[in-house]
Subunit: 247 residues, 2 copies
DNA sequence: ACCTGAACACCGTTCAAGT
DNA sequence: ACCTGAACACCGTTCAAGT
């Protein structure tokens, strides 16, 4: 996808290319567009990220973007892939369990660093070289773990959803989102507190709402992570047993 | 939320209300708006569901909607809640394991019946009485399972994300989405097949891409479900042990 | 090769005005 | 109480035209 087809991109600086003369306009390529989009994302969030705003930020009229990028969707995928590029993949020699753990922690490390990144990842399919490589490594891990192919790809996908879900939840109420009107989880809690009849209609939720502050994200993340890792480990053993039984 | 505050709604048919005379315009309330939105959702999907289209569908000018509904967001939440209303909650007497299982199966049963429902649920926070009740029951289940409050609400949330993730994936390529250009999972697979170098760059993914057809959704769903259920069960026992150890 | 001007077909929402 | 007309401030995208 990087070196194959994709949108026409300024040629890779071929030998005979004329050197840029002194007062020429700032070079402006796909990289700057993506970079600008990432910064804009940080500032205004996923909702606020529009092609027109991005153009304005780059001191350019909005149709200009369409020279560098097919459409908004491709732009978002490029942004997601650029973020994903920072994820460090686990070496294959690590164990099944360890590999999944480092994938999880890396996911979290990188996605919590960018505003709305988890939501972006959830919305955009894993196109783009880095995301596909990550996907590939995940599938490989499950294959190495003994999962049959179909199940391996399913598990890699479910695992991804689970991680994104945990990270999304962790990001609610976090700094980056505080400008947003009111973050759902907290809003829910506050609403519940004010809502007469809440303690009758939603007793457990009402109890929980009181504890919405003072959450310790990492702790919950590892708790959640252990749940799925243990579940997967159990499945691995199950598969191993059934294999051994067959021969 | 139903009987408390919320947007002004045609009064609950007070005693002295004048009966509707013969040739009067079709009664038109919030219920019809939500109903129309659900039908429109089925036809055009989440992307296509705009307030203006909905208005047109109801033979009304778009500002008219704002009498019945605060804004588009509230409308979407109402739609989500209406769908959620069909989920049958497990009785409390069932075991932890059983309750989570029926929640999962009900989720799947209902959400696969509506186009883009899983995505709608993932995007919209669980406001609305039915979704909150469901949330409440989930938290209750985890509390009954022995989870401390903070962990209970976290697990209920993670569990929800996991289920929505599985259902979302199952819906890719399904009938309702076939009109859509090309569904990501399949598109990915097809692209991979055509992509030269794919077998080198993404070997595991490439292998898996060949098997993207012929998936058996229910099978994968239960496989995925068992993973998380086993993981949770293990955590329950862990909590039980540590409790017993403390006294 | 890269950008602008002008335009198209849409959005969500507000608000005064009608009935 | 409920709806319309007119308008506002936005969208994403195309396409001929400029340089």
């Amino acid at each position: 996808m990087k070196k194959t087809k994709k949108t026409s991109e300024p040629k890779k600086r071929m030998p005979g290319r004329p050197p840029r003369s002194a007062g020429e306009a700032v070079p402006f390529g796909r990289a700057q567009v993506v970079d600008g989009a990432m910064k804009l994302l940080q500032e205004v969030g996923l909702e606020g990220l529009s092609t027109r705003r991005l153009a304005a930020r780059l001191n350019v009229k909005s149709p200009a973007l369409y020279w560098h990028v097919r459409n908004k969707d491709e732009l978002l995928q490029l942004v997601a892939d650029a973020i994903c590029a920072q994820i460090v993949l686990p070496p294959r020699k690590e164990s099944f369990h360890e590999r999944l753990k480092t994938i999880a922690n890396e996911y979290r490390r990188v996605l919590t660093a960018y505003r709305d990144a988890a939501r972006l990842f959830a919305e955009q399919p894993p196109t783009g070289p880095h995301r596909m490589k990550l996907y590939d490594v995940a599938v490989e891990t499950f294959l190495d773990g003994g999962f049959p192919t179909r199940e391996a790809i399913a598990m890699a996908t479910f695992y991804r959803h689970y991680l994104l879900g945990m990270i999304t939840e962790e990001m609610r109420g976090k700094g980056e989102l505080r400008h947003t009107p009111l973050v759902p989880a907290y809003a829910l809690g506050i609403e519940l507190q004010q809502m007469q009849g809440a303690s009758r209609d939603y007793p457990s939720l009402f109890i929980a709402a009181k504890l919405l502050t003072g959450l310790q994200p990492e702790k919950l993340f590892t708790a959640g992570l252990n749940v799925i890792l243990n579940g997967l480990e159990q499945r691995v053993e199950e598969l191993r047993r059934s294999k051994r039984g067959r021969r």
